[in-house]
Every structure is written in C-alpha cells, then in structure tokens.
Symmetry: C2
Subunit: 187 residues, 2 copies
C-alpha cells in the first residue's frame, strides 16, 4: 500500500520510490493523546506537522480568556504556527490534540536540507504555500460576505465529518460566535 504522505505529495509532484524514501527520511513519526499539545503560545516553532490520523485545533486565548480557533487539522492536513515556523519568532497560537493523534513532522533544518537537495520539494511547498494563501483569502472574503448562518452551513457542507468529531462549541469558536448563538441557528 502506498504511504499516505506519498499519495499526498504526488498530488502535486511525482516521485520515484527512492525519492520518496529520501523525503520520508527527513520526517519523524510521533503519537499524541487527546488533550496533549503540539505547540504552546510563546514558543518558537521549528516543526511542521502532517496529520496521519486524528484531529487537532490551532487556537489562541484572547484578553478575556476566550478561545478562538483558527484552524482544525485532520488526516492529510499540514498544521503548525506558520508565522513562527517561517520567521522563527514566538508563536501567537497553540495547537492541541482533540483526539488521539498520529503525526509526521519535519524540522525547519530538515526542510532546508531536503529542499536544497531536492528542488522538486521546494516546488511542492511553494505550491502548498500558494494554496494556503488562497484558502485564507477566501476565508476573509467569507467572513466579510456571509452571515453567521451562511458560514455555518458552508462549513457543514464542506467538512461534514468535522461535525461528528468535534464539539459544537469548537465550531462556534472557529466561526467567531458564541456557543449559544450557534445552538440557536440550527434547522
């Protein structure tokens, strides 16, 4: 069976068996339990994670102690604090496991090494960066354009699995509304 990461990378660039083994040798494999964290606000992040199995949230706590979720991570998604990872500054966000998780990660140094030796992978990450930017742009567009109810419905349509896996208060936190408001806009 093909490795899930290979399948994922080959959606953008193609790899020989040897090339994929070489890529994989730059990653480490870890497991985390529900409620454990990957990243804590304030640390300088030097790992980028890829989710093999499980569900995570990236979030921050505001001045009133309220949690705001920026992103969920599930199978085949990358997750890290991108600003901290790229600029090597303190992370503004934390990342916690919502379920037991199995992950691969690559360090900043290993990513540099890998892209230096394998230009293809630079193209892969450049493409990923473009896609990520477009997704963020569209989220802002949606935040400005759509009502809370419309955003909720779009999310439900786009990621129906999410609603079976995470508590609704987290969906509310992702959408930027209170738990009560989310509860009230159901069918």
């Amino acid at each position: 069976m093909t490795h899930p990461l290979r399948k994922h990378i080959e959606e953008i660039i193609s790899l020989t068996d040897e090339e994929f083994d070489f890529v994989l040798s730059h990653f480490e494999h870890i497991k985390k339990r529900k409620h454990q964290y990957l990243i804590q606000e304030g640390e300088i992040v030097n790992k980028e994670y890829w989710v093999i199995q499980g569900c995570l949230k990236s979030y921050f706590i505001d001045d009133n102690g309220k949690e705001h979720i920026l992103q969920f991570g599930m199978e085949n998604w990358w997750i890290t604090d991108y600003e901290s990872f790229v600029k090597q500054v303190k992370s503004k966000t934390s990342i916690d496991c919502i379920e037991d998780c199995e992950l691969l990660y690559i360090t900043f140094e290993n990513r540099e090494k890998l892209t230096a030796k394998m230009h293809k992978m630079e193209r892969f990450w450049a493409k990923k960066s473009k896609i990520g930017r477009i997704a963020l742009q569209n989220r802002i567009l949606s935040l400005l354009k759509n009502s809370t109810k419309e955003q909720y419905e779009q999310l439900l349509e786009q990621y129906p699995k999410l609603f079976q896996r995470v508590p609704k208060k987290m969906i509310a936190s992702y959408l930027g509304v209170s738990r009560e408001t989310l509860s009230r806009l159901n069918p």
Copy 2:
C-alpha cells in the same frame, strides 16, 4: 537613482545591474486615472501589478449590493486577484484606482519565463507568498480577537497615510462595519 522596484526586490535577494535590467524587461509600464479599473470580477487575471505611484482598492460586491474592501494597494505593494492569477480561474474581486496610478505589471507567462531563467526570482516570489500568507493569517487573527474600535486604531497606527488618502467609508468597508459606526467610534 535606483529604480524603486530594484530597491524593493533587493530587500529579499540581491541583483546585479544586468540582472535587474533582465527582470525589468519582463514588466510593462502603465498609467491609469482615478476611477479606472485594473481587474473586473469574473475575468481571468493574467497580470500581477506593482504600484509605483497611487492608491487602489481590491473589493467585491455582495448580494445586497454592498462593497467589501479586501486590500488597499499603495506604493511598493503588489496587487492582483491572487487566486485568479495562480489558478487561472474567474476573479472573485475587482480592483479600482482610488487615485491616478502608475504601475508595472508582469504577465503570468513572463513570470514563468523569468523564474525559469532566473531561479533567484522564484525565491523572491516564494518569500513574498509566505509573507502574504502570514499577513492574511494575522488579519484573521485580528478579526477574531479585536473589537471594531481596536481594529480601527491598529489600522490607524499601522498605516496613518491611508487615512489622508482614502475616504472613511472605504476604511469602514475594509474593517467590515458601516460608515456610521466608524464615524461614531472616533476619539
């Protein structure tokens, strides 16, 4: 005097005179008058613009006919519909001149040619893409974290020039509040 685009590019990579001339030969120079447009919603964008002089807005009109501004462009900023440019799909946004503008643009094809012949420029744009993504991430973070008033004050602090150049109703549209609300949260 150094060309402003050269100064801009050399903030990330360094160039010889010959290299810069080569880069510049892939751009075209245009002027536009206030109220003219660069991009209209629905077209497939194949140009990326760099602002030499002037001020522009990228925006879309929602179902109620209300305008939402996603980004302003001023001197030394890049502006385009990024999704349309990268994926060659229909643009969701329009771009208009708020002042008379002087711009450089590079077409999709010329950018491909240029990066193919000059790997440095690929690095330049990859870096720009990362920075752009981080800026968007931080805008979402700010939208979730800060009150309207706080966002207004941060914008005022970060881009004081903007407030002398664009009408307040556009600031309101960028912040996602009504003209009246913005007016009421002044000192």
